[in-house]
Symmetry: C2
Subunit: 346 residues, 2 copies
């Protein structure tokens, strides 16, 4: 890699990955190759902006993610934040800092993953910055999207009497990470496990999460959705964010929380409580949110018709009671506000 | 710092730094504290997007920049890219990755610098991501701006017969870096040098560069400006970028290139050629660009009236001759396309 200069490197990593026709159709006037990118926003839309960083040894290791997964997941995480506003992701900027001795094929794999994810959700990569660094690789993806004026779905919109929903099964990503950490094999040595096995599905949940953009749209257009969050830090943390931002209490009903078959199978084998992964795992990138109770059934039907799932897993109450779990036994227990914390020592 | 959780840390670093009134007046609907930020773009405007990364030991060291300078300069560099499109910077996202043992006062100083720069150019910090990392601190600033539809000033717009201009004296930042590297003192031990000394002015040029947003605007509104670049990698590299993107040759006239008094004084003392800093230094964040020759004098008058400088330092020719220097002696010599390169070993 040291023989390539910076511009040649950027060209090698980005050229031809997204066609000029696609970029033009996506409203890009000037993409990679100038001081800044220039693009259009649809009339009547507001800007939606987010960024997400993944760092080596903290967010990923050679035994928990392949290089292409690192790119894919960084892009997916930022796209998911746009979806969690009920917005449409449009443009992305990629800032990659790499140790100077990084082999070119590693960079190419990261970019392959970045583009694979971006292309899947029709996001144009319009710029970025590629720098060297000491220490671990750092990847920051910024995504810019749009939402009809005043229609963004905020955390602060939960209301007493609303139900709490989840748009998919949670905890699989954390269980996948657990599995990979226990194998402790660099990815080149991952076993060729059966694609349909529970483990393979858990690994996919961890390495190739799917931002639910279409579902975010469905919720935004329904006009009955209140608060919305994507599950990046576990159900407990996300429910707490909604509760605090909205000034309400949230009760989760244990019996209503869906558990994926693969998570159940893995938890049984590992002799762990699947609920632990669901509450405190994270990086699932499914959505949780609130909606008026009277629209829940109608929305569940709409979701089923669109090929999606909508699980009603709790309700919003007026009390300042934080987040609680109504257990199968009938006991109501408080749920800690915790997920992965970068700056707290446990 | 380890006693603060992530949300408490973000609050501590960002809360109260930009008033709600300022944010609202700037079109921010939802700032820090949700999955993504939501804001307005002026009607008839296009989006302009860029990001810039600074990494420890590569872009800065404890003896070349204070913590607050790191924040200030990362913001300034990204804002400058927006200015170099003739656009107005509006919103910023800050991604900061820090070694886990970083003291809180260091983070506070970085954020103080980030906000100082953002406030000066009326940019609202609307979001970001704060993560831990192994190895050096990494700071990525994304800036999103706006420009009237179709009015962005691109690198590719230089035309034969245009003159090449610079909007300020170059090379001071590189000379400042040289001076600081030779002192090799951690910033706590920097001497209290006279604020008006040549050294102090060079240090300021390196640590507190000023993006020329007003000047970019003046050029964009003039309608006589062709190509435009900000000088982040030295005059040689920036002139080459314009030459290649526009398919023209550029000749720099040595006698016309302005040299700041402080650069001249420093270069004499250090027995170096000031032109070396100008051509191959960078991080000055002045603008260079092209305009139709017949408008040069009228624009110089406009610039003087607005309190700015416009130096005509070369011309654009039709030949595929790359970038050349017309020396004081009359000789014409080719200029290498080089600046700081992250991925090349010299």
């Amino acid at each position: 890699m040291s023989s390539l200069d910076e511009f040649a490197l950027i060209r090698r990593l980005t050229e031809g990955k997204q066609s000029a026709a696609f970029q033009q159709a996506s409203g890009v006037d000037k993409g990679i190759g100038d001081d800044a990118a220039v693009a259009y926003l649809a009339p009547g839309c507001q800007l939606v902006m987010t960024c997400d960083t993944m760092t080596e040894s903290i967010h990923f290791q050679p035994n928990t993610m392949r290089d292409s997964d690192v790119g894919y997941k960084a892009m997916a995480a930022a796209i998911s934040d746009i979806g969690a506003m009920g917005a449409i992701p449009r443009y992305a900027l990629v800032a990659l800092s790499i140790p100077q001795e990084t082999p070119l094929h590693k960079l190419e794999a990261i970019y392959q993953g970045l583009y694979e994810c971006a292309n899947r959700w029709s996001v144009v990569i319009v710029g970025g910055d590629t720098t060297s660094c000491i220490g671990g690789l750092t990847l920051t993806v910024t995504v810019i999207g749009e939402v009809s004026e005043g229609q963004a779905l905020l955390r602060s919109s939960a209301k007493t009497g609303d139900v709490l929903f989840a748009t998919g099964e949670l905890g699989c990503s954390a269980a996948g990470l657990d599995y990979l950490l226990q194998q402790a094999l660099p990815f080149e040595q991952w076993p060729n496990i059966d694609k349909d096995s529970a483990e393979a599905r858990l690994i996919a949940a961890h390495c190739r999460p799917e931002p639910q953009i279409e579902i975010g749209q469905l919720l935004q257009q329904s006009k009955v959705c209140g608060a919305l969050n994507d599950v990046s830090d576990g159900l407990a943390s996300e429910a707490w964010e909604i509760a605090q931002a909205s000034g309400v209490g949230i009760d989760l009903i244990e019996d209503r929380i869906p558990i994926a078959d693969e998570l159940m199978a893995y938890a049984e084998k590992a002799e762990k409580d699947p609920l632990h992964y669901i509450l405190y795992g994270g990086e699932d990138y499914k959505l949780i949110g609130t909606m008026q109770a009277e629209h829940a059934i109608e929305m569940q039907i709409k979701f089923r018709e669109a090929g999606h799932s909508l699980y009603i897993i709790g309700y919003v109450n007026a009390e300042d009671s934080g987040v609680r779990l109504v257990q199968s036994s009938g006991y109501v227990v408080p749920i800690e506000k915790k997920g992965y914390n970068h700056f707290r020592k446990d």
